[in-house]
Amino acid sequence: MDTTNDLPNRWTDIGKMIKRNGPFASPDFVPDTKTTPTIMNGLQNDFKVLVIGAGGLGCEILKNLALSGFKNIDVIDMDTIDVSNLNRQFLFRRKDVGKSKAEVAAAFINSRITGCNVTPYKCRIQDKDDDYYRQFKVVIAGLDSIEARRWINGQLVNLVVCDDGNIDPETVIPLIDGGTEGFKGQARVILPKITSCFECSIDAFPPPTTYAVCTIANTPRLPEHCIQWALMFGLEDAKLPKPFDPKQFDNDNPLHMNWVFETAKKRAEDHNITGVTYKLTQGVSKNIIPAIASTNAIIAAACCNEAFKFCTDSSGFLNNYMMYNGLNGVYTYTFEYEQKEGCAVCGTNVSTFDISPSTTLEVFMEKLMEDPRFQFKKPSLRSNGRNLYMQGTVLNAATKPNLTKTLQELEVLDDDEITITDPALPGIACRIKVHYLQDN
């Protein structure tokens, strides 16, 4: 039974934005009325939102969405709760240490915000398929790894149906992506294929701190060099005794971490270097990033504010990147991150190509080169994790025999994508979706 029906004034505040028009609302905004509570219905019944990550940002995002009227929320996170999370991941308590973040977070929200239905998934985002992702109106990500961000970005871009340059808006699912580090953070809105995507900006990410191998090996100067030495050389040095199997090194295991610390400390002492502490050892080994509740709150709220506006049309929108820095005063900077020309993910259009499965690769390539849509000169083809034909010297000989095989023999299935690289292309690659015609 939906008990929230008997609390007519619960959503008074959101209600004002949804029921009243205003000068900055979207031109398409049609305010709800008593008889046509369309937007509210959408928020509460029709729309499903996906939250990726139930950590520092994730906890905040879940709370914010629940208190923005959203009812149907999925959350994916494969991690378990650690004590060091408790200073900011406020849906967890000491008794929850060791349990699944997604499950505990969902339970807390469902219990605190009556009527809200958060469904947890303790798995990797890669474990879900296209159909799963298609059901969402918006995806909000509070991730801490480039790899995961890249994946979900690619996934959502791939769901966009783009027929020869015409994007079908119904297949565009926004990705609202937040990230924080100490007193800094950023929130961005990605409309796959329309605005810049995550891959467009991957080059601009600050590179991870790495030290030269020879410095680590022979001319250490900093305590960090000594810690890296323990990790790089100490672990694989059979002459150094370890109370564990080096192949099973786990930087979450205090026993292992302590060994790294002691080893690094000894090396530092041998070179008169000071500063190796257990804390620094953990920081370097695990690449620990300082984190506090306030920054997470700011970025998560900015993200959810965008989700709310997107789903209700009740106001303007972030276009498309907001940076926040709280080190010196409060500094927020908002700008439009432009699409990168030839971006490997969103800059590559997918074009459909009609062909019979019994066509040989050689003939297929001839037809490709004739097609005026593309301007191929020396195309190399790859599909389903397999090289079909490579023009370059490295793999040409190995792939030449494929020319006489049919597409079917090469295990190219209907609807499969073939990625084509060609020095003549402006972007990284071109993607062709194969559309099989019935053989006569």
Partner: protein
Amino acid sequence: MSQTTGTDTEKYDRQLRLWGEEGQARLEKSSICLLNGTATGAETLKNLVLPGIGAFTIVDNQKVAESDLGNNFFVERQSLGQNRSKVVCELLRELNDRVKGSSVEEDPIHLINTNISFFKDFNLVIANRIPEEPLLTLSQYLYENNIALVVVNSYGFIGYLRLSVPEHQVIESKPDTPMDDLRISEPFKELEDYANSINLESLNSQQHSHIAYVLLLIKFFNAWKSTHGGKLPETRPEKEEFKKFFISKSRNYKDELNFNEGVTNLLKAFQPSRVPSDVDQILKDPKTSELTENSDDFWVLAAALKSFVEEHKKLPLHGNVPDMTADTLGFIKLQNIYQDKANEDLSDLTGRVESILSKIGKDTIPQEYIKKFCKNARFLHLARYRSLNEERTQPRTQVITGELEQPDNLMVFYIVLRAVDKFFTLYNRYPGFNDEDIDSDQSLLKNIVNQLLSELQIPTDLVKDDYVNEFTRYGASELHNIASLMGGITSQEIIKLITHQYIPLNNTYIFNGINSTGANWKL
């Protein structure tokens, strides 16, 4: 568990990496008062309870209403009808058992008007949705008693934050990219001696390529000076020439990383060490000359620093050497030379501190504090905030007008927010709160906006009707996302105020949730 401070180092690890155990200790001693347990207030406190402030008190006489369930995370279904301060307090305390929390079931306005000394023992007061008059009364009292006032409001898609404290001292401002203090162009004796003791010609190629660039530059600066009348390169062409000269001294510029580093850091190396203007202001402040036994340690130290600079014409040496290409032994030796000099400067400063203390009859200052002050001499920061009362009686009209004239400015929101407060004072309700009043409230609000602008002698066409209408539309609604965002920003500034680390906002910030932009000003 920390041996020294007793704090929970495991749970707080991620934040200790930002403000250390000392900052944490300050947080854990703090006592904060929140007026009104609204969504904004609760979210602000959440981000203070989680990292472990000492204690908080919520003053609120409202009962938990249905609408609270729609925007406030710290109320529950079953708490409908109960006093809001009590409910929010309980659910916040649940976040961190090390934090003390209490609730006062009273109208904050009544408290301000009848028992303002209630606030005297707090370090900081957060005011949310307090009308103009009592707010100014509170502001006056807090300012006189050196208690920080933080005003935060969420109104529709707009957020507002204002900080005010008479004086805020920061030693560890922890700038993002601090300048090195290497004294390359004016090396102290030990550094110069070390540089001179190195005979580059006698070194093999491995050794040659591992002499720290600092030493290389000092050596070649000296060589240059000897053929240029004892002067360093000053003009642009001279500096270019030196660069060529320096590169020519490399045996294999492509591979000698140390020479490359020398070139990269050349421009910085030319700069003599200066006293930054921020620090200079502090040293010139009258408080450094009007010392009594009741003076803050900060001012005693500032006075000692002033005397140090008067004699040495420089700030004390920082002592840190950033990593650079060098062999281990050489680098450690270099580090030690800088460290020794820094210690020498510290002793010098300490001596001055002690002599001042004995003159004014004040107790000793812990050596750790002096050391911290000394090491951070270049990064000292002092802020004096205008009170809210000053903001009203002596408005910074130029700043306001200047901003209003810019396209897409956020100052318009500041003006309308001020008008909204005035509206409440006049009519005891917020504009657009009731559906039936929207139209009439729009014109009432517009009149107040125009009146306010006239008083400030600002052309009324600088605030378009759209903004007035938008605020009437909001009808004082409090959206959770905006409340949470402002709660985040506010709590972060409060942490900076309490830990005295990093530099807090001075003094107004507005967040525009319509397009996710923000702006700050000193009003």
